[in-house]
């Protein structure tokens, strides 16, 4: 339907605009909810271990395996520890490490992308093949290898993730940089005699980073998923750490009897991951709207 009704600024009959406007109207409350969840998660990540009572890591066999109740909102696990408080304490390991990982591989990705985009054809080709090679390595399996060598734990997980995740960022950023380089205003700036470095920092990078910022939101969410997956198989933080994946792994053994042990930590993971994904969507929408003005 390439039908245009002139004189009506926002009334293009195509579906994209309709969808967006529809979302914009009803999604105010959703935006608020997403931001609230993200803020809560970050707060817990920073302050969690500080506010959780010390009983989080100590055993109390008398209280073991209690179903959720008014006293223990999410029940207790096989060691008698309160599940809800453990989730609060575990936020740091699961979430903060995710933030660290994202920051790490983004940095490496940026450096590689800048090098590839400005280094000439041979450098570009080699770096891109290297990117392909590392991309071909499945993250979880590589992290397993790291755990096999360095011993399982948060450190090996973080290193392994940073090593395997930079390629996507590098590829994305290189694409953006190349697109920006092709823009007329860059040629114009060069003609005016602007130095390469100034060009890079003042024009190219800021414009190419837009896509990256949107990606960060979703990335934190998916990194939380990967970290918790790793600890689930035993390649990340190990019990008695209150890391959410490890909690699910412990809970798996008692799933048929004490389902709350595995359910709630997993739910926490899901909620955080989804919230960050929606945050990324939100950022993207706001940026698109801002661009159109």
């Amino acid at each position: 339907m390439a039908l245009l009704v002139p004189g009506l600024p926002a009334a293009r009959l195509n579906l994209r605009a309709r969808l967006r406007s529809r979302l914009g109207a009803g999604s105010r409350w959703l935006d608020g909810l997403v931001l609230a969840v993200v803020a809560l998660a970050v707060l817990l990540a920073v302050f969690g271990p500080l506010i959780a009572p010390g009983t989080v890591t100590t055993s109390n066999i008398l209280d073991a395996m209690q179903a959720p109740s008014a006293h223990h909102w999410f029940g207790t696990d096989d060691q008698g520890r309160d599940v809800a408080w453990r989730i609060v304490a575990g936020a740091r390991e699961s979430l903060l490490s995710a933030l660290l990982v994202v920051a790490g591989y983004s940095l490496i990705g940026c450096v590689i992308a800048a090098a590839a985009a400005s280094g000439g054809k041979l450098v570009d080709e080699i770096l891109m093949r290297l990117t392909d090679a590392v991309l071909a390595i499945p993250t979880i399996i590589f992290a397993l290898g790291f755990a096999a060598a360095l011993g399982p734990g948060l450190n090996s997980a973080i290193i392994a993730l940073v090593i395997t995740a930079w390629p996507v960022t590098a590829r994305l950023l290189r694409g953006e940089i190349r697109q920006t380089l092709a823009m007329p205003y860059v040629a114009g700036a060069r003609v005016l005699g602007m130095s390469r470095r100034r060009l890079l920092f003042r024009h190219i990078l800021p414009n190419s980073l837009d896509a990256l910022v949107v990606k960060w939101g979703a990335d934190v969410g998916s990194t939380v998923l990967v970290i918790t997956s790793l600890s689930f198989i035993g390649a990340g933080p190990q019990p008695p750490s209150p890391e959410w994946g490890a909690m699910v792994s412990e809970g798996a053994n008692y799933i048929t009897s004490s389902w709350w042990m595995a359910l709630f930590p997993g739910l926490a993971i899901a909620v955080v991951a989804v919230a960050f994904a929606l945050l990324a969507d939100l950022i993207q929408e706001r940026m698109a709207a801002g661009g159109e003005r």
């Binding site: 339907m1 039908l3 009704v5 002139p6 009334a11 309709r18």
Partner: protein, 356 residues
């Protein structure tokens, strides 16, 4: 099946018999979410005779494209009131299945952007033979017919080009292919929506000449939509002028160009640069055409009209017989009737003192 079987003989009798297409008091309304209804086209009546060429001209946004698309029912969210008759068959409000039987087979359409009208992933031959299946022509016969059609339209080495893809053709060539695609199912009527607008001047001439040739050979009735009056002059038999959703003027082409009856038409023509006049500032019509929803009361053109009368801002002018033989919707021509009936009050002079 030979080439001669595909090409129907040229008809000598033009406008013979009942009209090919009749629009009777057709209005098009757009229903938007949230309830607001927008009247895009208002009370349009047109006839297209068999073998006739009618040009529908007007500015962007006057509703001419919407009207053409409504004939084929392409926009389901547009409400159609009034009658659209293909010969005797009513099309307005018809179901999707009935409309599909008409599209391509009886009424075909050529669009403005030639590259846009072709599927980039399908070979040209495949796209040409697609509508032929509805005529029962398939396989080798269809390919032969498609090749003949491309040759007719001036594409050399047609048989080989059938395997080419749209991006391998230039703009003018693509328009020829799009035209061939429209003709493939042997329609009686061709709706051409600004077929030359996206082309350079030379390609424009070629396409119009081609249109002229193939439609004459096949005896097609043509509704040509354009905003380019000069293009229309050499092609059309009749010109209908649209303004703000209404037909304001409908006359044979000679009358329109020699002595345009409607002030808007006159304004349009004087804005066209002419070879036989000294170059200078082109007279433009002041103001802009109002969009749908913001059309003034009375005659929509009255704010910009150099010859407006008192009643022009209150009463919508109906179609009256024009001196050229067609019809014109302008209060200036009410006088003829009134004079004949012996009006009691002489008409008041134009406010800006323009000549009558």
């Amino acid at each position: 099946m030979t080439v001669n079987d595909i090409r129907p003989p040229a008809t000598t009798a033009v406008h013979a018999g009942s009209p090919a297409l009749t629009l009777n008091q057709v209005s098009l309304t757009l229903r938007r979410r949230g309830g607001a209804a927008l009247r895009l086209v208002d009370d349009v009546s047109l006839t297209l005779g068999r073998g006739e060429r009618l040009a529908l001209v007007g500015e962007s946004g006057c509703g001419k494209s919407v009207l053409a698309r409504a004939i084929l029912g392409l926009d389901r969210q547009i409400e159609v009131t009034g009658d659209i008759l293909l010969g005797q068959q009513p099309l307005a409000g018809a179901g999707e299945r009935r409309l599909r039987s008409v599209r391509g087979r009886r009424v075909a359409m050529v669009f403005q952007n030639p590259m846009g009208a072709l599927n980039p992933l399908m070979s040209v031959g495949a796209q040409l033979t697609e509508p032929m299946r509805y005529r029962g022509v398939t396989g080798r016969a269809a390919r032969a017919a498609a090749g003949a059609l491309l040759s007719d339209l001036g594409i050399v080495d047609a048989a080989r080009r059938l395997r080419s893809y749209p991006h391998e053709f230039s703009g003018g060539m693509q328009q020829r292919v799009a035209l061939a695609m429209a003709l493939a199912a042997q329609p009686e009527i061709l709706l051409a929506d600004e077929p030359t607008t996206a082309l350079d001047v030379r390609a424009q001439e070629q396409v119009i000449a081609l249109l002229d040739q193939v439609t004459r050979e096949r005896g097609l009735s043509v509704l040509l939509i354009s905003h380019d009056l000069s293009l229309v002059a050499g092609f059309a038999d009749r010109v209908a002028v649209m303004y703000a959703g209404r037909i304001v003027h409908d006359d044979p082409v000679d009358a329109v160009f020699a002595d345009p009856a409607h002030p808007y038409t006159r304004g349009l023509l004087s804005a066209v640069p002419r070879v036989d006049r000294a170059p200078g500032r082109l007279p433009a019509i002041e103001g802009t055409m109002p969009p749908p929803g913001r059309r003034p009361a009375g005659c929509a053109f009255h704010p910009r009209c150099p010859r407006r009368l008192d009643r022009c801002d209150q009463v919508v002018p109906l179609a009256r017989p024009a001196p050229g033989g067609g019809a014109v919707a302008c209060h200036l021509y009410d006088q003829t009737e009134q004079a004949e009936r012996g009006a009691l009050t002489p008409p008041s002079p134009a406010p800006n003192g323009g000549e009558r």
